[in-house]
């Protein structure tokens, strides 16, 4: 019996790179040669990771990949977190993909739904971010990773700038398993500001003819915040932040939470909450946080990505933001998600649909978006052991049994009862439960946040404390009580609502000391983008579509 050769991958990698030969000079490939190089380094059957993050995109490499044909590239198992670009959709239309495992398809949600209907979207599963990264180390380890970086030096070291995002989470499993790492960069320089990915984990580099696509996903114009959202923000601040003493948290990207951020230096200050709540954040550098940061509310912010226009601001506030030795902003999606899972008192976000059990989803038959990172934070981390005031307080309300943890993370859904166009947010059954979707997902209903994990729902009608409910029936009655005039809400029974209100499980604005007539945009610390720029002392550079001066 001969010894088994267990270094086949290494040999295979060497062979592939050898085939690249003179198409590269050292590690460096000219843009024109990229299609040829891709053909030589990717083989049928490969697990291919194409970096498409929430914000930054390896868009040049994606477009070159999409320019190939099925004869060049087929039977690919694609793994990527975000299906964002039309080029990504092309890969499916051209029939190159054998299976896809991903997290999120925001801007291409409609295209993905169409592919599903046409049976051209062979999905393994829709993941949450860390779940997918975890599988990169287990059973979905990429053979080839096509990634995006801001700069490379002559050795192939990479600088990722503000949007580190998930590059390290992709490179590490690939590089340490004899996979090929191919990076597109905006520019090649002699000296990098800092090294985020060492050259010995990078095999190939191309300077893309255009800078990588970066989306301003986290910019919310305060001018678009409504009085109703201010009302909900006031209710949340009093009924949740203040009540539980929330120290560490994650905010979603909606206008609801933007309103909360902008109320801290005004309404929050008036309530004497400064220094008592909202000190530690796991969130991208949201422009709407500038007034709170300037007013001294915020101790620290760790982020899963950057935000366009916040570069100078974050660099100048290194006490608050994590920055590299060069002084510029640093983010990391995998670590951020981990922090948001274990390290925080509260996750608060919005959703398009909430059912009577508190399950929420953004998926419908015509738009399949997936999850992203919210479920990693919007859940009860079963591995958590450290106590905080808020964790224990919610835990006590939940009346833990002998086999449950003593605390609970606050998982809050903050939604208006109706979406735009009078579409009700509250439904008896989620659109995501459609049989065609469940079939495509191997029997799994794509639920963003499970009702069992949710502790509170906040609407313009009030707060439903689901953690304190003692039965499924009670939870449903609590949800109906704050579902307003939606069909779900109209089915509430007055008697139930009164009883739940008496027990503090349902609270109306006046029950938490908020007068709806006080709710006005004028409470916001900044009422428009320009106000944010002024708060930042000119350090915030909003993207052009937000500038009207």
């Amino acid at each position: 019996m001969t010894a088994a050769n267990l270094a086949l991958r290494r040999q295979n990698k060497a062979k592939r790179l050898q085939k690249v030969g003179r198409l590269a000079r050292g590690k460096f490939v000219s843009p024109d040669n990229v299609p040829q190089v891709l053909k030589r380094i990717i083989e049928p059957g490969d697990i291919l990771c194409l970096e498409g993050d929430n914000q930054k995109q390896a868009d040049f490499l994606a477009s070159q990949l999409a320019s190939l044909e099925r004869k060049d590239l087929r039977d690919i198992h694609l793994v990527m977190s975000c299906i964002t670009l039309p080029a990504h959709i092309q890969l499916f239309k051209k029939g190159m993909i054998r299976q896809v495992d991903f997290c999120y398809a925001g801007p291409q949600g409609t295209a993905v739904a169409d592919l599903v209907k046409a049976k051209k979207f062979p999905v393994g599963a829709i993941h949450t971010y860390n779940e997918l990264y975890a599988r990169y180390y287990i059973d979905l380890t990429p053979r080839v990773a096509l990634i995006a970086a801001a700069q490379a030096d002559r050795k192939g070291n990479l600088f990722l700038a503000a949007n580190t995002e998930e590059t390290p989470a992709i490179v590490e499993p690939t590089a340490f398993s004899d996979g090929i790492v191919f990076a597109q960069v905006n520019e090649i320089v002699d000296t990098l500001p800092r090294i985020d990915i060492p050259a010995d984990q990078v095999d190939l580099v191309v300077q893309a003819p255009y800078p990588m696509h970066l989306q301003a996903l986290f910019t919310r114009d305060p001018a678009a915040i409504t009085d109703v959202q201010v009302l909900m923000a006031m209710v949340a601040l009093r009924g949740i932040y203040e009540k539980y003493g929330v120290q560490s948290l994650n905010h979603g990207v909606g206008f609801n939470t933007a309103a909360i951020e902008l109320l801290l230096p005004t309404y929050g200050e008036r309530l004497g909450l400064k220094g008592k709540i909202c000190k530690y954040w796991m969130v991208n550098p949201l422009p709407t946080m500038i007034p709170a940061i300037e007013s001294g509310w915020v101790e620290s912010v760790f982020a899963v990505g950057g935000e366009v226009g916040m570069e100078r601001y974050t660099a100048a506030h290194s006490d608050v933001f994590f920055t590299g030795r060069d002084g510029s902003f640093h983010s990391n999606r995998a670590m951020g998600q981990l922090a948001g899972h274990y390290g925080i008192d509260m996750f608060i976000g919005a959703s398009l649909q909430v059912d009577i059990n508190g399950n929420s989803s953004t998926v419908s038959k015509n738009r399949i978006t997936g999850f992203g990172g919210a479920p990693n934070m919007g859940c009860q981390p079963a591995g958590r052991r450290h106590p905080t005031e808020a964790w224990l307080k919610v835990g006590a309300e939940a009346n833990p049994g002998p086999g449950s943890p003593p605390g609970r993370k606050l998982v809050v859904q903050m939604v208006e009862t109706f979406q735009a166009g009078r579409v009700p947010t509250f439904v008896e059954e989620l659109d995501a439960q459609d049989p065609s979707i469940r079939k495509a997902l191997h029997g799994v209903t794509p639920v963003m946040i499970y009702g069992d994990d949710v502790t509170h729902i906040v609407t313009e009608e009030g707060i439903a404390n689901l953690a304190a409910c003692r039965s499924i029936a009670e939870r449903q009655a609590a949800i109906r009580s704050v579902a307003g005039y939606t069909p779900v809400g109209l089915k509430r029974r007055k008697r139930d609502t009164e009883e739940l209100r008496r027990r503090g499980i349902v609270q109306f604005p006046e029950d938490v000391g908020v007068s709806p007539r006080e709710a006005s945009r004028s409470l916001l610390a900044a009422q428009d983008i320009k106000g944010l720029v002024r708060w930042s002392n000119g350090l915030y550079d909003p993207p052009p579509q937000f500038v009207d001066w």
Binding site: P265, T266, P291, S520, R521, S522, L523, A525, Q527, K530, V533, R534, G538, P544, Q545, V547, D548, W549
Partner: protein, 292 residues
């Protein structure tokens, strides 16, 4: 840092209430009279009790004024038959009573749904404005929202003695979308908001002298600006029109050939365009004065 509500975000009624002496506003043809547009009703479009313009009289600093405030949210503040007749009547009343008349403009111009009726109404209101001016009764247009004063209402605003603007306000005739359609996106990208405001916004209008004051987006500041103008009027005289003719000819000669959006600002002596862009209305006005 809490401040009062932004004037440009308030409704017509809130604006009036914020500008005048508390409790002094007396509405003419108030909502209970239900004078609503038969045109919109026929077209199955929701009507409004005030047909998009609130009119009446009030006191500012103890002094009687007539006031109109257009409702920009209602069919774009556009002028229909009733809306326009209310404006005409108001200016005529102001002329008759020799009482200053203020119009808070927020309108895209003529209400298309009522066809030529609104167009004639605007022409009639212009005549009524000049009735006021013939008697040296001050007429003031306040332009403070991004809906601004466009089309016939833009022209009407220039017939008043004075224009009070904020940086949010826009004054013009053709809106950016119309011009983009006409000239192409290269010549005018209507989604480039900075360009739109450089073209028609309060700051540019103030620099050129088409707005008489540029104030904070705040009722108190606007009230103060109005108060200063209440005793004044702008003459319709040969001397005045000749001076204006020369000024407008010079403006056209200096800037008529340039596509540069910053040309007017630079030409009028604004050195630091970025700082001036970020400045508030009064800060900008102060900068402009210094540079002069």
């Amino acid at each position: 840092m809490t401040r009062g509500p932004l004037f440009h975000e308030q409704t017509a009624r809130q604006r009036i209430a914020a500008l005048v002496d508390p409790g002094s506003f007396d509405e003419l043809l108030p909502p209970p009279e239900r004078i609503t547009s038969p045109y919109l009703a026929q077209l199955g479009i929701p009507v409004s009790f005030d047909d998009g313009v609130v009119i009446g009289h009030a006191k500012i600093g103890g002094r009687k004024v007539y006031l109109a405030a257009q409702v920009g949210q209602f069919v774009g503040g556009a002028v229909g038959e009733i809306h326009g007749a209310k404006l005409t009547g108001l200016f005529k009343a102001a002329a008759r009573d020799r009482t200053p008349c203020i119009v808070i403009v927020e309108s895209g111009g003529v209400r298309l749904h009522e066809g030529s009726a609104g167009e004639i109404a605007i022409a009639e209101t212009m005549r009524a404005i000049f009735e006021c001016r013939a008697k040296k009764v001050p007429t003031i247009a306040v332009i403070c929202s991004d809906i601004g004063a466009y089309g016939g209402m833009g022209i009407l605003s220039t017939c008043c003695d004075f224009r009070v603007m904020t940086e949010h306000g826009r004054l013009g005739i053709s809106g950016p979308i119309v011009i983009e359609k006409w000239m192409g996106k290269k010549a005018y990208d209507s989604s480039n908001r900075a360009l739109v405001w450089k073209t028609s916004g309060g700051k540019t209008k103030y620099l050129l002298g088409d707005a008489d004051s540029l104030v904070l987006d705040d009722a108190g500041a606007i009230r103060e600006a109005i108060s200063k103008l209440l005793g004044k009027s702008s003459a319709v005289s040969l001397k005045a029109v000749k001076a204006r003719q020369a000024e407008l000819a010079k403006r056209l000669k200096r800037f008529g050939q340039t596509e540069d959006a910053d040309a007017v600002w630079k030409g009028m002596g604004v050195r630091d365009i970025e700082a001036a862009s970020l400045a508030s209305g009064p800060e900008f006005a102060a900068m402009a004065k210094r540079e002069k």
